[in-house]
Amino acid sequence: MIFNLANPLRFQRLIEKIEPITFNIAITLLLVGLFFCFFGSPPDYLQGETVRIMYIHVPCAWFSLMIYSIIALCSIFSIVFKHTLADLISRSCAPIGACFTLATLLSGSIWGKPTWGTWWVWDARLTSELVLLVIYLGLIIINNAYEDKSKADRYSSILAIIGIINLPIIKWSVDWWSTLHQPASISKFSSPSIDPSMLLPLFIMTFSFFFFFISILLVRVRGEIIQRKIEVIRFNRMV
């Protein structure tokens, strides 16, 4: 089943079926999630209304890491098996990941001003997230720098694998260094943990972002497949 779908053309046909469904689910969940964010959850006793930024910030931060993990996995797969679909997915993921990372930094910054009293601190978590953004930008630049796309894919795969080093640093930076950014509180079940009334909108938004990511990814992968087809046709005409 999976190996059948590994063919870009079959995958393209599957995308055409799945993409509208995922997009509709994403929009529905987003609307429900936004309702719960604004009306279904209470303001924090300490942070007040600014706590609602968390419903955007936390999923974005999770997805910035998750997308990089997908890129890294696809890169390993691409280097080992030299599979085109892995290259296409990692190439398509990079701009989406960069957008999520940028959204994380911006929303964090907006939250930081009223809470910490500053837009930005050179905190280990913030700095490592900024490094992640720069790595994403590097990947995007490499993908567009070489005329030979297969070469660009190979180089960006190598860079993505090197960049894996940054993922554990982001994850555990709050534990390794004494940072202003608070340690993990969502996955923590002992007290003080997040209130269920806040947890529900957070998870709805996370699922909404997940389906949104999937639908955008599918659109981009389809675009890449079509672009490569056009290149092959152009090349054949030249020959």
């Binding site: 700095t127 630049i141 490499i142 720098a145 070489y146 190598i158 694998i161 090197i162 080093i165």
Partner: protein, 226 residues
């Protein structure tokens, strides 16, 4: 017997690289000149010398990173253009040994001018003897990682005919942890305690950088020679 042959070949390779580097003495000259002028520009841009005294380590490291990156391009471009990179692989040298030999040559190339430049830094930035010793230890511990990363960055861009600035964009994020730790070592330097001054972290960074750069370098070199 075979083991010794491999060893000998590797040393020959290192010798070749150093010999080529010494023949192109202009690279060392331009590296030193760039280092001095760029440091001076920083000094001139600040009116109050007390600020320079505070930021001397950051200035030295930023200038060093850019000068190394500019030089590393020459190291690989010539070998790639005249085909000797491919030839070395054809002769049976592993990609790792090629990369290590180039790094060693580059390290020698950086360290020789550094011996002359460090006293200049001492005078320009008006630092104390302790700070100077800290800076020297810093340079010796962090430069191997720096050269490895620079060689890797030039490998990335060796096939690019235009837009060489990509080399900087790709690799600069990987210098960030090094910059953080190298600049933080000097500020708390009192005596010669290695443990307290995070010098061990620099050694640790080297042991992370070495396998990662060698692995990535091997993959890129194979891709280049396809």
């Amino acid at each position: 017997m075979g083991k010794y042959k491999v060893k000998l070949d590797f040393f020959k390779l290192v010798k070749r690289e150093i010999r080529i580097m010494l023949k192109n003495f202009s690279i060392i000259y331009s590296f030193s000149t760039f280092f001095v002028i760029a440091s001076l520009i920083f000094v001139f841009s600040v009116n109050d010398i007390s600020y320079v005294k505070i930021f001397y380590k950051s200035i030295v490291w930023i200038v060093l990173i850019f000068s190394i990156m500019l030089v590393s391009e020459n190291f690989l471009n010539e070998d790639f253009n005249d085909g000797s990179l491919k030839e070395l692989q054809f002769l049976g040298f592993s990609e790792e040994s090629i990369m290590v030999s180039k790094s060693i040559a580059m390290l020698v190339m950086i360290m020789i001018p550094m011996l002359f430049l460090v006293p200049l830094v001492f005078v320009f930035f008006q630092i104390t003897l302790y700070e100077l010793i800290s800076l020297v230890i810093n340079l010796f511990l962090a430069t191997p990682s720096l050269t490895l990363i620079s060689i890797l960055s030039s490998l990335f861009s060796v096939q690019l005919k235009r837009n060489k600035i990509i080399q900087f964009v790709i690799i600069l994020p990987f210098f960030i942890p090094m910059i953080i730790f190298t600049t933080s070592t000097g500020t708390s330097f009192e005596g010669y305690n290695l443990k307290e001054n995070q010098f061990l972290i620099l050694i640790g960074i080297f042991f992370i950088t070495l396998p990662v750069c060698l692995m990535a370098g091997r993959l890129i070199m194979r891709e280049i020679n396809k």
